[in-house]
């Protein structure tokens, strides 16, 4: 057979990459790698906040402790919302790859609703705590708590805005390879936020009520 047509040439090159030959990696792999580096730097920034929390969590200055403030029931609902939104985000990415735009919109909408529910619970928890006089200025423990959990919440809020933007791109441009690569980055971001939440959930809440 002859491998002369233009699209065929690209495939041949990528076949070589797949079997360990020479040639540049597919754009998708390169984009995911670059975004992965960004996510790791973001996780390193969070590690600073985790370290600050670990150091300061005992310094309650006579104020309320985690045991008095945290409610495991709402925390569990919050965690479930974020976990299921990660799942629906993965299914949205999958539907996109299979060019099923109807399913993509359904799963993207579910992801948004679950993420928004998470933010709603978190913000109402913050408002409740500030109302009880347990705001970020009460003690070093609460400063570290609001910084760490608030930074995670700020990331989730940014992710929600990004998700709206992605849905608008799919609406305007369709599920083209470029849009799918952007959505791949979004889904990596969203899954990474869930990983950070596992750390917050364990270190701040579960160990805080013990």
């Amino acid at each position: 057979m002859t491998v002369a047509a233009e699209p065929r040439d690209i495939d041949t090159q990528e076949l070589l990459v797949a079997i360990g030959g020479v040639g540049p990696a597919p754009t998708r792999t390169v984009v995911a790698y670059g975004f992965w580096i960004f996510l790791l730097s973001d996780i390193i920034m969070f590690s600073g906040l985790f370290a600050a929390y670990a150091v300061l969590s005992g310094n309650t200055a006579g104020g309320p402790t985690g045991r008095e403030l945290f409610d495991l029931r709402t925390l569990f609902i919050e965690t479930a919302c974020l976990l299921f939104s990660s799942y629906t985000c993965g299914l949205a990415a999958l539907s996109g790859e299979h060019q099923r735009s109807d399913r993509f919109y359904v799963f993207a909408a579910l992801t948004f609703v679950l993420g928004a529910a998470f933010m709603f619970i978190e913000i109402s928890e913050f408002v409740h705590m500030v109302g009880k006089g347990a705001g970020p200025s009460r003690s070093a423990f609460l400063s570290a708590f609001f910084t760490l959990v608030g930074m995670h919440g700020a990331h989730v809020s940014t992710g929600l805005l990004w998700l709206i933007y992605m849905a608008a791109q799919v609406l305007a441009k369709g599920l083209s390879p470029v849009v799918l690569r952007r959505f791949l980055c979004f889904s990596l971001f969203w899954h990474a936020l869930d990983i950070i939440w596992v750390g917050v959930f364990t270190m701040v809440y579960l160990m805080g009520v013990d």
Binding site: R8, A18, P26, T29, Y33, I37, A93, L94, T202
Partner: protein
């Protein structure tokens, strides 16, 4: 001709013909494991199932297991050839995270231990 065409399209991880390794089953298995581990860590924290002084260690182990589940099933970090760089980057990131957290705790505990007693306390 047709046979060759199919081989090219099924094997190449190309931009347009991406044969996705991520499938529905992988996400569902990941969700199931993550839910189990989350419930497990709540149970460990709330009951005396574990020897009480060992609870923090148990929670950390469960958290690391869940992070592993997320990395493999949701972020699809595997042993594939195009994943080598991602794994190396992750290992470096984990090293920095470990240094920042344990280093900070080590230094601050040491400072607290060597702090002179405050007058009036």
């Amino acid at each position: 001709m047709d046979g060759d065409d199919r081989i090219f399209h099924e094997r190449s991880p190309g931009v347009e013909h991406q044969e996705s390794r991520a499938d529905f089953l992988s996400y569902t298995a990941g969700l199931g494991l993550a839910v189990l581990l989350t419930i497990g860590s709540v149970v460990v924290a709330q009951t005396d199932l574990l020897w009480p002084p060992g609870i923090p260690v148990g929670l950390v182990v469960l958290a690391f297991a869940q992070i592993g589940v997320h990395l493999v099933f949701f972020l699809h970090l595997g042993t594939g050839t195009d994943n080598t760089n991602n794994i190396i980057a992750l290992a470096f990131g984990l090293l920095i995270v470990f240094l920042v957290i344990t280093g900070s705790c080590w230094i601050m505990v040491n400072l607290n231990d060597n702090m002179m007693a405050m007058p009036g306390r």
